[in-house]
Symmetry: C2
Subunit: 397 residues, 2 copies
């Protein structure tokens, strides 16, 4: 006798369960391994002191609201701080024009729960964030990929796909994308806005990495640019996150969206987790008032820029003509392609034997996977280990 | 031009949007009002000192894992503490036999996401927790009520309904129910286990209030009793929560379930919010090691018992034959019924004019609402205010 557990769309998720990633991650505990496989920020760069100060302050000053049930929409002091934070990035949004989510993963889930009926089509970048594909598939979406290049999604191809498929939404990570590392050019961002308005299609802009630029800030977000394109704001949702700039363990993200979507997402959130932890929301809100974020980010940017520079140099030196890649201008990832049609999954297995790990690129594609691709994260590895790890990759090849 | 936002089952939720509760809660800010309408614990009884000590300790001792991404299943030190906590309540469960959820609301959501296909039937108590009805309806469930009395759900009626409807699951709050205040008798708990095994039906036991007993502990949980009924554990899920015993603002709950259900719920959680905040999980875990919980709960039990006693006396004195109720033995709620078929919604409006609030009972029924019922919470109101508030109710009647 066993429980007849059945996920409505479980068949669409087999991909994940059998994927190389799961097998790979089992091996990451091997002693001496150098891992470029993760997608985590470097915990050594967390501002523990500032966070501890913030947590202590909110528990001392406002223990009642911090420890009690709170509003589903979010803790108001945080919504006010996020309104200012977005304002500094060129986005005009009132505190009640955004909701706080339990990490930006929940924003994606609420969009799925609110928007997607089984059979609906969704367009994403190929490749894109793996958990987005799975999240939307759980609601029965048919996920379609639009091609990308070093300047982000190919907008001509995207426009054709929208006209052909009439998707419920388009999901993009325009800035320092995961896994692509690519940044959508200013010109293409403007095209996206025009396309959204013309085709009346919701564009979801996921922006967890925008603050992690190396030398100069990326172009303004699509949401910021929408101020210049009449009507476009009605077709834009924007997901932000404290995970890469403060701490993922807080689980604090946010979503900006048109009022009707925001209201329905809030109702769905009410029955998903009631609200995001007030303690972590209040901590984030207090932290944003301390004036420490700029200093914290300056360090993160400098460290990640150096690691990315060393990774680019090492790849060139150790793998030469066997690999092509575009060096990212920010974020946490290199997206590379083996030449001569080599298979990245087989390469990953040989790499593990040499005690170095990365993620093969295939799982990041909703369909028509390019099996010669791979993702390398430099975020948590020091420069000497990067040089050593890439040298091992060269030996594995 | 507007976004075509459409919830798949929005029509089933109109009930909530137009409900008396929403209108009522708008009036709760009125100065001088005495509110029995809430469902919140008393924040004055939160152990702020113990929580602040715990938060400071985990940020000082283990900042890396606390602030980094974590496992979807939960933070291991908390899973170990919860295993012990449940062990003290007669439930044998290994740390990996439970997952941590973002409040127990998320456990309900994950059960819905994992188990319910559109059109599936679910049986709940009539009345039951409003957010459970809505949560399951969002997944397309048809929600059917089983009648209750002072000893909890009528197991004969429940058994007939299961045989008739073959539901995907049965959801019960057996101990100090919300809104009923009722506690399922020991005999009925054993019957539930037999029925679950015979009919091969998943029973979801939601137990947020079990620790809030007044004089003596309630009967063991259905999960604890399952040890004596061979095969019954295969048909049981159990939801627990720190919200009523430590703090709702932490958003820490947990779910114990058969392995197949737990595995699928974990996969759904991965794409819902990745994981619950490590900071709040670690805080809860550390708190449970401090040995302060017993003392905290002793105070809460004593204060709530006194408030419940005063509310029972006041209702008897001020409303006499106009109302019937069963005094609860724990928890936070009185469930009452106006005699002579009086309408509780009309009564609520007159009560607001006298500056006292409660929740009419009708919204707590999935169907066939008893409009003469109402819920009164004593948890956040001091004894003098309870006496005054109930006297105002007498005037309103």
């Amino acid at each position: 006798m066993s429980l007849p557990v059945s996920l409505p769309f479980a068949d669409r998720l087999q991909f994940v369960e059998t994927s190389a990633i799961r097998e790979l991650f089992k091996l990451l505990g091997t002693p001496g391994i150098i891992s470029f496989a993760g997608g985590f920020p470097d915990p050594a760069l967390f501002d523990v002191e500032g966070i501890a100060e913030s947590t202590a302050a909110v528990l001392a000053n406002t223990p009642g609201p911090v420890l009690q049930y709170g509003a589903t929409e979010g803790y108001n002091p945080l919504r006010e701080q996020l309104s200012k934070f977005m304002g500094n990035k060129g986005v005009t949004v009132a505190p009640d024009g955004l909701i706080v989510t339990t990490g930006s993963q929940q924003a994606l889930d609420l969009i799925g729960k609110t928007m997607i009926n089984p059979g609906d089509k969704v367009i994403v970048e190929g490749p894109t964030f793996l958990a987005t594909i799975q999240c939307f598939r759980l609601y029965g979406a048919q996920v379609i990929s639009a091609p990308i290049d070093a300047n982000g999604v190919d907008v001509d191809a995207l426009e054709k796909l929208i006209d052909e498929h009439r998707p419920k939404l388009v999901y993009l990570i325009p800035t320092f994308g995961n896994p692509s590392g690519a940044t959508l050019s200013l010109e293409r961002r403007k095209r996206i806005l025009d396309i959204a308005v013309r085709t009346r299609t919701l564009v979801v802009e996921d922006d967890p990495y925008g603050e992690l630029y190396f030398d100069q800030p990326p172009p303004p977000s699509i949401l910021a640019l929408s101020a210049d394109v009449p009507g476009s704001r009605d077709w834009l949702a924007h997901c932000g996150s404290m995970s890469k700039i403060l701490s993922p363990g807080l689980r604090v993200g946010w979503m900006i969206a048109p009022p009707a979507l925001l209201a329905n997402a809030t109702m769905c959130k009410q029955f998903s987790d009631a609200h995001t932890s007030n303690l972590t929301q209040a901590t984030a809100a207090h932290y944003l008032t301390l004036g420490r974020l700029d200093g914290t980010l300056a360090v993160v940017r400098k460290v990640y820029a150096e690691r990315a520079r060393v990774m680019a140099e090492s790849l060139q030196r150790e793998l030469g003509g066997a690999i092509t890649f575009n060096a990212p201008q920010g974020g946490m990832f290199f997206w590379a392609k083996l030449t001569e049609g080599r298979d990245a999954s087989a390469f990953a297995k040989r790499a593990i034997e040499k005690l170095v790990a990365f993620v093969p690129g295939a799982p990041f594609f909703a369909h028509d996977a390019d099996k010669s691709t791979l993702r390398l994260s430099f975020a948590t590895v020091g420069v000497e280990k990067i040089e050593e790890g890439i040298a091992r990759l060269g030996q594995a090849l």
